[in-house]
């Protein structure tokens, strides 16, 4: 009977030590396990990110691209600047001795991506601001005019269409209908 009692006492003592251990240990172990799981998933995620980013652009390429894009975005005109653009086209045409017969600006048209969604830049929708004009000019002056507009520091312009024809058999001047697209937002 005494032996049984003593045995039971010892079992209780060991059990108490074990219970105390488990009481302290289990929360620590749970914390450790969750930290370890998070650590592993973060490790994997970081490795994946590094892999992806390493295959995309080098830091110097990022810098260069950023500069180019900054330049591009800074040259996007404001849709409210149509009159200034017309003035600029007129001014450049005059600089190249071109006779401006007619010049118009049409309402801006949203630029859509492949999925048909409007493109955005700096939180505003991108549009095309069409400028059409007719000039009488020489072939050389027209080329120089177009070069100056394209290389111009102010806005981004593309030539959408160009129709060039001799105005008459006697005249050396050409009659030219041009449709320009200014990118605006």
């Amino acid at each position: 009977m005494n032996l049984k009692k003593a045995g039971l006492t010892w079992i209780i003592r060991y059990g108490a030590v074990l219970a105390a251990f488990l009481f302290v240990f289990i929360p620590i172990q749970i914390r450790l396990s969750s930290s370890a799981i998070e650590l592993n998933s973060l490790k994997k995620e970081i490795e994946g990110l590094k892999k992806i980013m390493g295959s995309l652009l080098s830091p110097s390429e990022i810098k260069k691209t950023t500069e180019e894009l900054d330049r591009f975005e800074s040259k996007i005109a404001d849709v409210a600047m149509a009159s200034q653009i017309l003035d600029e086209v007129n001014r450049v045409a005059e600089e190249h001795h071109m006779k401006m017969v007619e010049i118009n600006s049409d309402p801006p048209v949203n630029i859509l991506d492949d999925a048909g969604k409007p493109l955005e830049s700096r939180g505003r929708k991108l549009s095309i601001l069409p400028i059409s004009f007719r000039v009488e000019t020489s072939y050389k002056d027209l080329a120089n005019f177009l070069k100056q507009l394209s290389d111009g520091p102010k806005w981004i312009v593309t030539v959408e269409s160009l129709n060039l024809q001799t105005s008459s058999a006697e005249s050396e001047n050409l009659q030219c209908d041009v449709l320009l697209s200014y990118i605006a937002r």
Binding site: V24, T65, S161, T166
Partner: protein, 505 residues
Amino acid sequence: MKMTGAIQFLDRLALKTAGKSSADTELIIIDWAEDGSLLLLVDVSGTPRILRYTRLKFDSSMSLTDRRAAYIQFLSTMSKKKPPKAVLCWSEGMTFRQLQLPAMPPEDLLKALDWDLKKKYYFNKEENLLGYREVMAVEGEEGPEKLFSVYYCENKIAIPRLDFVFGLGLQVQAVIPGPIALAHLAALENLPGTDRDVLICELRENMARIVVAHGNNTMLVRNIPLVVSDGIVLDEALGRIADEIKKTIDFYEAQKNSKPVAKVIFAGEKCEQGRILDFMTPKLPVPVVVPTIDGYFSGALDAAEREWAVSQPGCFSAAIGAALAPDDTMNLVPMDVKIMNSQRRLSRLLNLALIGFGLVLAIWTVFTAIQGNWTKSRLTTMRVNHEALKEEEKTLKALLDRSRVERAALKGDVPLYAILKDLSLRVQGSILLKKIEFIRADGNLTLSGEIHDPKRDGSKTLSQFTTTLSESPFFMNVSVVSEQEDEEAKTHFFEISATVKGLSI
């Protein structure tokens, strides 16, 4: 029997594994006699060293309370909570027997011993404390047998003594027969490696005990009355003792399993060192010695006490012998005391194991906590890295988005002024372009004009012109849409279509 075996195993295990406190490294040895006792406090952490001792002399008129008071005075300096354990040793009332039994399982051995003792010596196990052990293998009448050395002591002698010691608050570790204790000391006196036995003669008040020891075992015990006058053993009595020793040697050496007796050791409180050696040396055929006990005293002992003790080696022989063998298997302690002692040892062992278990778990917990902290700090660092990478990823994605916007907005713009310049260089003198039409949406360039060269075939010039255009880096799919020859005007009209390269349509 199984229970006893298990207890002995646990005893040994506990002794080997348990850490030792001062109560574990010290023992109280009580060499018990009717007329008094010798009490030693011995350090048994190595070779036994006597730390303190006292000799108690009792006369028959002394009450038990007085005797207890004398013991308590000696014990008063020791820890009351956990005093050292006691080892009792006495000779009076101890009966020695030798039995030869065939080999048998341990569980049957005790029964066989009981039976043999009962049959030969009217032994009653209910009235005696019994101790036994195997001495050697011998050749019996019916084959190989084992020689057992057996001691027993009547309960009416042993139990009051044990009760007395328990009453002092001491635990009794062992009750060792006096001859066995002497044999332990004699075994050290014998030359190591010699295959010889030793005769011990213990001279006590009114009794001489002749013991032949084979190693730690006793092979023969004889009690001879001793005449003492005024506390001194008379020469006549000594002469008789010498004769008895010679007879004993002759008898013993004539026995079948005996070895020659190497020396005679004199011990006991009536052993006067110088006188005995002078008297016995010429009378006995083997060397005569008294035990050397100088090495068993601690430096802490008072010089005078030490000097007196060293001059009385016989007095201390049995007690030192008992100190040499506290774990001797010839232990007459009752089974319930043995069980109690074992339980205490087991309890101590379990306590130690519990502490060890707790420590292991605590270390494990601390280790896990440290690991957890380390993981946490790594996680923090990794989170920072992750955030930085996420930011970079965000930047890159934004860059890609912006780049996509740029590409979509421009859709591969072409420098039209350069096209016009290239075109002007490819148009030869006889070709006059009347109309140039470019539509970026489909990348089409249409050239209309005329060739006026009376000396040459217009279609050939046109063909040459289209070839030149095809060689331009700006055009592809150059083809003549229409051509017409005006024979009268010698003019060749044409319309050419081409696709401008570099437009992502």
